[in-house]
Amino acid sequence: MTVVPTMAPDGPIVAFNDVHKRYGAIDVLKGITFSVRRGEVVCIIGRSGSGKSTALRCINGLERIQAGELTVCGKDISAASRSELRRVRQDVGIVFQSYNLFPHLTVSENIMLAPRRVKGMDRATARTVAEEVLAKVGLADKFDAYPEQLSGGQQQRVAIARALAMQPQLMLFDEVTSALDPELKGEVLRVMEDLAAGGMTMILVTHEMAFARHVADTVIFMHQGRIHETGPGDVLLAPQTPELQQFVANGL
């Protein structure tokens, strides 16, 4: 798949600048700043309630931010209109913890829906794309299956394929292996490793410390709505702050 950059390829693809997000009286994000380069793999880790999922969901506008600046694929989405947001979402794939496949559609229909409706792709082309992305996640034989006929790991791989079919510039993963038992986690993680190896820009919220250490270019540790520590994957071996030390110790 060819990715056509809509901006200078050397600028950051995602840039948070002092981003704040509140739910009512609760400050979920208390001013976070970081940026992601093209081709970079970033893992966001932290306890539940640290704001990591919220930060991820801000990137494709599922959550709107209240203060600060957030630029995604060259577009300031803090002030984006609904149609501008839709445009950005075509370039940003997201995969959820609970897969969120459309249960009334077959695997191929799940994948072809957005390319056809949003990109206006004709049926034959969309079919080819669906075959391609399904092969990429190793599920070419499930083309006509319904989601309920698949295992959790397979469903999650279809969800990845569905996002890839839009040929995104950036992929977001929101705890995509958390609902899977250990045996099924592996097959999903392998697909993600392949994607990373293929140069896909990826931002993951994850509890998979081994994956974060080996695959991530950058690990971001979030704590109480702030970025507490950040560094390359090896930061998990030698945490600088007591909070990350404790988090890593509990996680292993």
């Binding site: 599922l62 997201i94 009334h104 829906l113 957005a114 409706r117 839009m166």
Partner: protein
């Protein structure tokens, strides 16, 4: 009871079915609009549809019938009893079907909207391609169940003199005065119309539950 009287009852049954069908179709179209308004992003539409549902659910059907028939006549519109009854049934069914379908739409997990939204689909596309197909599946058992209510409630049109099954029974009874026989027969006819629908509704509901949908 003569053959002619029996034919009269069967004709009345026909009118009952026609009235029920009209009410269901009219109420279906209006009810879908109400359901969509109830889940709309636009506050005024939500508010308007809520008001409609509250109003109609708070008024007895016979009163709606009186209003359509006599109320409109006073206002200068002389409409046949069937039309008044059909309009009333439509207004009535729309309020309930609207609520049933709103519930079905809301029963589709919010994450399905999120998945569609994240793929860049418009609100309309999310509704048409993702939410409604799942909501329809969920709504079939309660909708069929409500058709039973529509059939039975057509009998309220006796208050405006429309000759459907109940009224036909009343008229025959006035002639031969065998209320027990006649209204047993009338009741049996209603039962034979409603019972299969009730059973179908329960069966579909059980199937939906066993699928874990």
């Amino acid at each position: 009871m003569t053959t002619n009287q029996l034919i009269y009852l069967i004709e009345g049954t026909g009118w009952t079915l026609l009235l029920a069908l009209t009410g269901f179709l009219g109420g279906g179209v209006l009810g879908l609009m109400i359901a969509l308004m109830r889940v709309s992003r636009v506050t005024s539409l939500r508010w308007l549809s809520y008001l409609y549902v509250q109003l109609v659910q708070g008024i007895p059907l016979p009163v709606l019938m009186f209003l359509s028939f006599f109320g409109l006549a006073v206002a200068g519109f002389n409409i046949p009893a069937f039309v008044a009854a059909a309009v009333s049934m439509t207004i009535f069914a729309a309020a309930y079907l609207g609520e049933i379908w709103r519930g079905s739409i809301e029963a589709v997990p919010k994450t399905q909207w999120e998945a569609g939204e994240s793929l860049g689909l418009t609100d309309f596309q999310q509704m048409r391609d993702i939410i409604l197909p799942q909501a329809i599946r969920l709504s079939i058992p309660p909708t069929i169940g409500f058709m039973v209510q529509i059939i039975k409630n057509t009998s309220y049109s006796v208050v405006i003199g429309f000759i459907e099954l109940t009224q036909a029974g009343k008229i025959i009874n006035n002639a031969i005065y065998k209320p027990f026989l006649i209204f047993t027969l009338v009741g049996a006819i209603y039962f034979s119309l409603c019972s299969p629908l009730s059973r179908l509704s329960r069966r579909l509901e059980a199937r939906l539950r066993s699928r874990g949908a």
